[in-house]
């Protein structure tokens, strides 16, 4: 087992909890294009459509031909590490608390130099490397050079591990265990080495076999909580809030109504109460304590995962009220992200397409298996992304959305008829 993956020691309660520090977050607007790609796990640089020149650092005009039509293009990241250093001093507290740092200049095959962190498996310069983009604790893109051939996990490197939200050794709250997705997720988190998993159960008089079967996992502890009950959420936060390292909000109420198929708003209100107000209640009670523990040793509070839906991007009229509730939750999650980012706690939004469960029964395949969605969430925690679009349908919708949101709106509108 690599050193970084060892189970962290128990916290000494006499020691003061360290306050979170962050790497520098200031970026020009154009440089945020790098972050936008890294948020989805991609390494993209600007390329000039007129002369082909790749640009770095991000720029407003082409350094070769002065074209202003630069466009972000995915990069394979291949290049040569030309020169390197190991920093023994640093001006910012974040780096100072974690010295030394190994960094280098990589000449990408695309023809530009990048300054990058060097994964500790990278050989001494000069050598071939591959550059990847990850999100650092400040939520900004950071370039990392990894060995060209060998697979290199961020978690293998004691410093770069901090860019991940690796569930290994962490205490995790899954807010609602009564769904196939949540149950698959709990099993996946258990397999990924979570230390403790609290699984929320609402309405305990309605027994759920899948949830009951989770009790066989040694890390699992079933806790009573109903996200529509403010008092219950507050009580749970009081009991376990100060121990939660990762919160995964799986609470989800999905009914398949369009505007015209049902009179009255009660069902839509219930969806909003779980999907939107439930998130709001959790955020109010758990976010402050997560922020306070964002630097609490190696098993610190690191992430908040929202199980949203690809329907949050653009309304899917056959599931119109559900789409609206997920859009509301998505909007709120952006505020939650803004709230947690200054502490270095990452908000990961997951936007699955139709899931292979009863509420998406009438959706045509491909549909996402609960186990596949669970695996995508665990992979996101082990990596360094904040927006996850798991499965073929989600990727397809995302591509259509990014290409032309109005066209997607029209296409989805046609599915209503």
């Amino acid at each position: 087992m690599p050193k970084a993956a060892k189970r962290p020691q128990r916290k000494n309660p006499l020691l003061r909890t360290r306050l979170p520090t962050l790497p520098p977050a200031a970026r020009s607007r154009v440089a945020l294009g790098l972050t936008a790609a890294a948020a989805r796990g991609r390494f993209a640089l600007q390329a000039c459509p007129d002369c082909g020149a790749v640009q770095y650092p991000p720029s407003e005009v082409c350094r070769k031909c002065l074209s202003q039509r630069l466009a972000w293009r995915a990069q394979d990241g291949g290049g040569e590490l030309l020169t390197e250093t190991t920093l023994r001093t640093a001006q910012e507290l974040f780096f100072r608390e974690r010295l030394p740092w190994r960094i280098g200049i990589v000449r990408l095959d695309a023809g530009v130099n990048v300054v990058a962190y060097l994964h500790h498996n990278v050989d001494a310069a000069p050598c071939r490397v591959r550059v990847e983009a990850s999100l650092d604790r400040a939520g900004q893109a950071a370039l990392i050079a990894v060995p060209q051939q060998r697979r290199a996990d961020l978690s293998d490197d004691p410093k770069l591990r901090e860019m991940t939200c690796d569930p290994r050794g962490r205490k995790i709250l899954v807010t609602d265990g009564k769904s196939a997705v949540a149950q698959a997720l709990v099993r996946a988190l258990s397999a990924a080495g979570a230390e403790l998993i609290w699984v929320g159960e609402a309405e305990p008089w309605k027994k759920d076999e899948g949830l009951e079967s989770l009790r066989e996992l040694p890390q699992v502890s079933i806790v009573l909580v109903d996200v529509t009950d403010s008092q219950a959420v507050r009580q749970l936060a009081g009991e376990i809030g100060a121990k939660v390292d990762i919160l995964v909000n799986t609470a989800d109420l999905h009914r398949t109504f369009s505007i015209a198929t049902r009179r009255g708003v009660e069902t839509a209100q219930q969806e909003m109460d779980v999907n939107y107000f439930g998130l709001l209640r959790l955020a109010q009670e758990f976010a402050p304590v997560l922020k306070a523990r964002a630097a609490d040793g190696p098993a610190n509070a690191v992430a908040w995962v929202n199980l949203l839906s690809i329907f949050a991007l653009s309304n899917y009229p056959p599931h119109s009220t559900y789409s609206a509730s997920k859009a509301a939750a998505f909007s709120l999650s952006q505020a939650l992200r803004a709230d947690l980012l200054p502490a270095g706690v990452r908000v990961i939004n997951v936007f699955p397409g139709p899931i292979d469960d009863e509420w998406d029964q009438l959706e045509m395949p491909p549909k996402l298996a609960p186990a596949a969605l669970a695996a995508a969430i665990v992979a996101a925690l082990k990596g360094s992304v904040e927006d996850v679009y798991p499965g073929d349908v989600a990727q397809d919708w995302l591509a259509r959305h990014l290409d032309n949101p109005k066209a997607l709106e029209r296409e989805l509108g046609e599915s209503a008829t």
Binding site: L87, I103, G104
Partner: protein
């Protein structure tokens, strides 16, 4: 087309506002002191100054414009030169043409910065857009990072050793020990240099310039004006500048000097062999070596052999950074690029603060500035002669 000669443009009244490690004063104070010392040295009223070139990193939100009101000067020629360690050379070039053309009679070229305890971090964290976006977030090492990259690359490619850089640093310290204004007062041995604590491999403590507060200044005018004022002066024979040279070099192993040195020596009518002493921009020793090579004192990549074959004290075979340079005097922000110019004028007028060459006829001073992303962008040099 051949560039016009500088005719009888001269530099006079070299002044230094004494350096301090930290100061609670602002850049305005240091620049104001520089101007006060200039008019005192030249024995002229402030109203005789009709041109001003200013360089500073810590003057914000002001520029040279604001400084005119702070200092109460009415000018017919004003320049703000934001080129870091190349600002001094560029100021000379611009001021010289202003004087030649009659746009100004006496141009004060001043550079200065304050240094509060957090100034350096603030300056480096927002040094440039490229630096903010693509360098500072990787460890926040500032210039130590950039020069560690250059030094490691140079050593790897050309076989230079730490002892070679150390020889330069020790010689500069020996020069500085004679300079009462140098902040470093203790001798430096090669062993101390080699064993100092690591800062950013391969750089150790004495490879890294120490930021401080202070200012430097000099006057540019015609020889006739200097003579009428009875001012000792040095003649400007030639000057070059270059920005963003060799952008396709993978890592910077040469500066813009290589492109312009032939023009420099041609304009001056003298060559490297005629140079009695060299003042380089020396925030880190590797950049000295790039200047030795770029200015034609040795071939590209042969800097280490050149160092091994020479001695660099004021009395040595290759007198170099005779006041101690920034590495042993201190780096007063943008004044670092003026320090060598002021020392060159002092040597050529025989009015040094410390070590003095017996017969200094030709002095070469160079500037280097602005690690905008992965390399220094601005370079320049000026060749001066005794009157």
């Amino acid at each position: 087309m051949a560039r016009a000669a500088y005719d009888d443009v001269v530099l006079a009244a070299p002044v230094t506002v004494p350096y301090v490690r930290y100061s609670i004063k602002s850049a305005h104070w240091f620049l104001g002191r520089a101007l006060a010392q200039l008019i005192a040295a030249a024995k002229i009223p402030k109203t005789r100054i009709d041109g001003l070139a200013v360089a500073s990193f810590t003057l914000a939100p002001d520029t040279a414009v604001g400084l005119t009101q702070h200092l109460g000067v009415t000018l017919r020629w004003l320049d703000h030169v934001p080129m870091g360690g190349a600002s001094g050379i560029v100021s000379i070039r611009r001021a010289a043409r202003a004087v030649q053309s009659g746009d100004a009679e006496i141009v004060a070229c001043i550079a200065g910065d304050t240094n509060r305890t957090d100034s350096f971090r603030r300056n480096t964290s927002a040094f440039s857009q490229f630096s903010q976006d693509a360098v500072y977030p990787y460890g926040s090492g500032g210039p130590n990072t950039s020069f560690a990259f250059l030094t490691a690359y140079y050593m790897q490619h050309y076989g230079a050793r730490r002892e070679d850089f150390g020889k330069l640093c020790v010689a500069q310290r020996n020069n500085a020990l004679k300079n009462p204004l140098a902040l470093f007062k203790k001798p430096l041995t090669l062993e101390q240099y080699l064993d100092a604590r690591l800062v950013a491999d391969p750089l150790r403590l004495f490879d890294c310039v120490m930021p401080c507060a202070g200012a430097e200044g000099f006057l540019v005018m015609s020889r006739a004006t200097a003579q009428s004022l009875g001012l000792p002066h040095a003649r400007l024979l030639a000057a070059i500048e270059r920005h963003n040279a060799f952008p396709d070099d993978p890592v910077q192993y040469r500066g813009g000097w290589a492109l312009d040195r032939d023009a420099l020596y041609e304009q001056a009518g003298v060559g490297p062999k005629d140079i009695d002493f060299l003042e380089t921009y020396d925030d880190y020793p590797v950049i000295n070596v790039l200047q030795f090579e770029g200015l034609g004192f040795c071939q590209e990549g042969e800097g280490a052999a050149f160092i091994r074959a020479n001695t660099f004290e004021a009395t040595g075979s290759f007198p170099f950074n005779t006041s101690g340079g920034q590495l042993s005097v201190g780096q007063a922000g943008a004044a670092g690029g003026h320090l060598g110019i002021v020392e060159t004028v002092r040597q050529l007028t025989g009015e040094t603060l410390g070590a003095r060459l017996p017969r200094a006829r030709h002095g070469l001073v160079s500037g280097f500035g602005m690690i905008n992303y992965d390399r220094g962008v601005c370079s320049g040099a000026a060749l001066l002669a005794a009157a």
